[in-house]
């Protein structure tokens, strides 16, 4: 079965410091991986995706993610965190077993950036 795991319920970081939100996946074949962010009382917003090619993917709001096939990971990173980055972050993988395009989400990681 295809799955995504986010091992940390919460990540705390000081403003201006680098941040990492971890994600590991389990899929057959080459994965299509996504990161979404959810602010309070808002829907999910797309940040970035990995399809193929360069392992370092750049996305919205200065975020980037590194695809590591040997470690089956797709960690989200940002060189310098902002207080406004505080939100709930979801890693997701496209379900390739059913050909329907649905996303399988991790349980989410709350990012708290303190001034």
């Amino acid at each position: 079965a295809q799955s995504v795991a986010q091992p940390e319920d919460q990540v705390n970081v000081a403003e201006g410091n680098p941040l990492t939100v971890k994600c590991t996946y389990s899929v057959s074949g080459n994965p299509y991986l996504f990161w979404y962010v959810q602010y309070p009382n808002r829907g999910l917003q797309f940040l970035l995706k990995y399809i193929t090619g360069d392992n370092l993917v750049k996305g919205s709001y200065g975020f980037e993610a590194e695809f590591n096939k040997s470690q089956t990971s797709f960690h989200l990173k940002k060189p310098s965190a902002l207080v406004s980055d505080s939100a709930l972050y979801f890693c997701a993988v496209r379900d390739k077993s059913s050909n329907t395009g649905k996303l399988i989400f991790g349980q989410g990681t709350t990012l708290q950036v303190k001034p």
């Binding site: 299509y32 399809i51 496209r94 379900d95 329907t100 649905k102």
Partner: protein, 117 residues
């Protein structure tokens, strides 16, 4: 470009009552998804429509949940009767296509927060 619209934003009902949610996808998007997001968990797909046909409802509790997408545009999701464990945020999303292509990006609405007492 207008995003995915959902209503109501919040709903509080008692168990065994019925409730309905509405979604208007982005214009031109053929595929519509309903996800259930329980507190502390990631969203889980309930049902996926391609135009007005169902392509995946494997995780929809069909004894109490139903959904339709008449004319291939708007969609409604209904719960009847509701249970306490149905308390969640119900997210609607849409995309141009519905296959596994990673280029079929899903756009999400703000969600409806349901509380069942």
């Amino acid at each position: 470009e207008a995003g995915v619209a959902q209503s109501p934003r919040y709903k509080i009902i008692e168990k065994r009552q019925s409730v309905a949610f509405w979604c208007n996808p982005i214009s031109g998007h053929a595929t519509l998804y309903w996800y259930q997001q329980i507190l502390g968990q990631g969203p889980k797909l309930l049902i996926q429509f391609q135009n007005n046909g169902v392509v995946d409802d494997s995780q929809l509790p069909k004894d109490r949940f139903s959904a339709e997408r008449l004319k291939g545009v708007d969609s409604t999701l209904k719960i009847q009767p509701a249970k306490l464990e149905d308390s969640a945020v119900y997210l609607c999303a849409s995309s141009l296509g519905g296959n596994i292509s990673p280029y079929n990006e899903q756009f999400f609405g703000p969600g409806t927060r349901l509380t069942v007492l």
